[in-house]
Symmetry: C2
Subunit: 346 residues, 2 copies
């Protein structure tokens, strides 16, 4: 029997972790029950600080995320980690990071960890990740750390659901190209040069500075506790000076400084009114995604049994282009009988 959304939400709100896990599975399903659950938890949301952590494979994102969660815990606050792996659409799952993570954070009830694989579904990543973040926000986690592999679409989606985006770079990963190509200039609020003890860290940093300079959006170089060489006049992203920090996440070096900057960013967002603007944008994004999904589902559910096969047959015969067939199909559906379509979408 499928779980009752109202019961699951009520239990999860009391701190029941098993209920929370089941609730997360439910909201990932994008069913009517999922929408009901999200609607029930919605009034309790809006309090968590959502931090997106992104970077290429091998930069040490997972270690950084773990250490950030531990730093948050020392402040007496709670953290949920959402590890999203958009690069494994078919098999699903962040294989490597998880075991390390479990070992480091196991046994602490103030840290909750959830891995998600986006299965190549259109809009699947942000739709389900945002739903999961809503639930974790609603049940009272102070921080939601959304970690995702990325050079690509995933990063943009992270930017749409996080208040603060941390981009993690590391030496020796084809730095110059990465910095320019990954589109990070547009989404980063903080940039970390992780593995700062490794050869090439300075070159990575220089490449980042150069990339920012080329984009006419200079960053504020902040060397945390390591050194203070070079003075770059701080400029801004909507008024925020993007710090570049050195870290060594594997032993936690520099992570306190990262959290301090994230807290500064929170204050900045709140005082400038951008926190509220981001909330609006995020809800709008979720609305648009859900709307697209609901439109498709309504169309698909209203299809008679063998109608889809008929459509495929027309394509196979190359009788009509896919685009024209789509247009005709939508027009025919929308002009079709009201009662026919309504019977299926309630």
């Amino acid at each position: 029997m499928p779980p009752n959304p109202a019961d699951l939400v009520a239990q999860a709100l009391t701190g029941n972790r098993l209920a929370l896990a089941r609730l997360l599975t439910l909201v990932e399903s994008q069913t009517d029950s999922a929408i009901e659950a999200l609607n029930l938890i919605f009034p309790a949301t809006g309090n968590a600080h959502r931090v997106g952590i992104t970077g290429a494979p091998g930069t040490g994102k997972s270690s950084l995320t773990n250490k950030l969660a531990q730093t948050v815990r020392r402040r007496g606050e709670t953290a949920a980690i959402l590890a999203v792996d958009p690069s494994s659409p078919f098999t699903g799952g962040a294989i490597l990071g998880d075991r390390i993570r479990m070992r480091e954070c196991a046994g602490d009830p103030g840290v909750f960890i959830r891995s998600m694989a986006s299965r190549g579904a259109l809009g699947g990543l942000s739709l389900t990740t945002n739903a999961a973040a809503e639930v974790l926000d609603g049940v009272g986690f102070d921080w939601i750390l959304v970690e995702t592999v990325g050079t690509g679409q995933a990063e943009v989606e992270i930017a749409s659901l996080a208040h603060t985006v941390i981009v993690v770079e590391a030496p020796g990963l084809g730095d110059e190209i990465q910095a320019i190509k990954a589109g990070i200039l547009e989404i980063a609020d903080l940039i970390l040069v992780n593995k700062a003890d490794q050869p090439g860290a300075l070159r990575t940093e220089s490449a980042l500075m150069a990339a920012f300079h080329a984009a006419e959006r200079p960053a504020y170089r902040h060397h945390s506790d390591i050194d203070q060489s070079g003075i770059i006049p701080p400029t801004s992203k909507d008024g925020w000076s993007i710090p570049i920090l050195r870290t060594n996440a594997i032993d936690g070096e520099g992570v306190d400084a990262v959290l301090a900057r994230v807290l500064e960013h929170r204050t900045f967002l709140q005082e400038s009114g951008q926190w509220q603007a981001k909330e609006t944008q995020r809800m709008q994004h979720a609305f648009e995604q859900s709307l697209r999904h609901a439109l498709y589902t309504a169309w698909h559910d209203a299809l008679p049994g063998d109608a889809y096969d008929d459509l495929l047959r027309q394509l196979n015969n190359r009788a009509i282009s896919p685009q024209q067939l789509a247009r005709q199909t939508v027009q025919a559906w929308l002009t079709g009988s009201k009662s026919e379509s309504n019977r299926h979408i309630s």
Copy 2:
């Protein structure tokens, strides 16, 4: 004045490159004129071999793509290169690769180059890339080389529109993690270890073999002209033995062998019936994408002037969850007056 789709298609079919460029811009626009143009060119499509070339930044994809185009030219065949950069959603454009490419291929009328930036649009990458590939196929290019940066969603989308997917790896990019995380095992038909003269190439190859082995999908190691150490029994992806080849694209080493394998793959696909199956899948994918787009557009176009602002206001007041609002909005629209919705979607 906007260009007439029928005129543009007619001119592009005669080999007019300016008309082709304008036609590509038109089909990227996803307007009614774009659909008309795609419908006009559709009967001429279905002849090109579409090759997807993907890999992390810094692996040398662009050089490989250029050299592959030149190799194809020496066979007396034509090639169109579609360079898709999904990682640059806001600013758009593959900055680095383009200048090199232009220098190497300029002046050859048998090579056509087009750069595309997917601007973070939902489903934008495959929708517009497929439309562009359709046009290039229709005007008679023998090969369409679709090059994309990727560890992520983009790779899956490439797999949906290519007959043959080449995954390019290179030493020193965090090999083990990349091989496992990037989901390449599912989409690769050929794997190249590019920059094979650099230190670590053998380690990259070993990591790839290990990753395949772990996934219980062993690859066929084919060292082309370099060496033949180690014998791995060839096994398969739907009956195809995935070769791992060493290349050094910057001076063209190994690229002839790559093309030979791609041609073998074509024969394999045709003889096994998978070529036709891929064509069907591709058209179905394009249909689904276009359908989603048409549904959203129909809804959006039918909205009265300030209705969208009203929806946003409800979200801002946190009066209703985004998911519930989307569901209600779709239901209200579908039960709304037929004439109202039809007036806007024709």
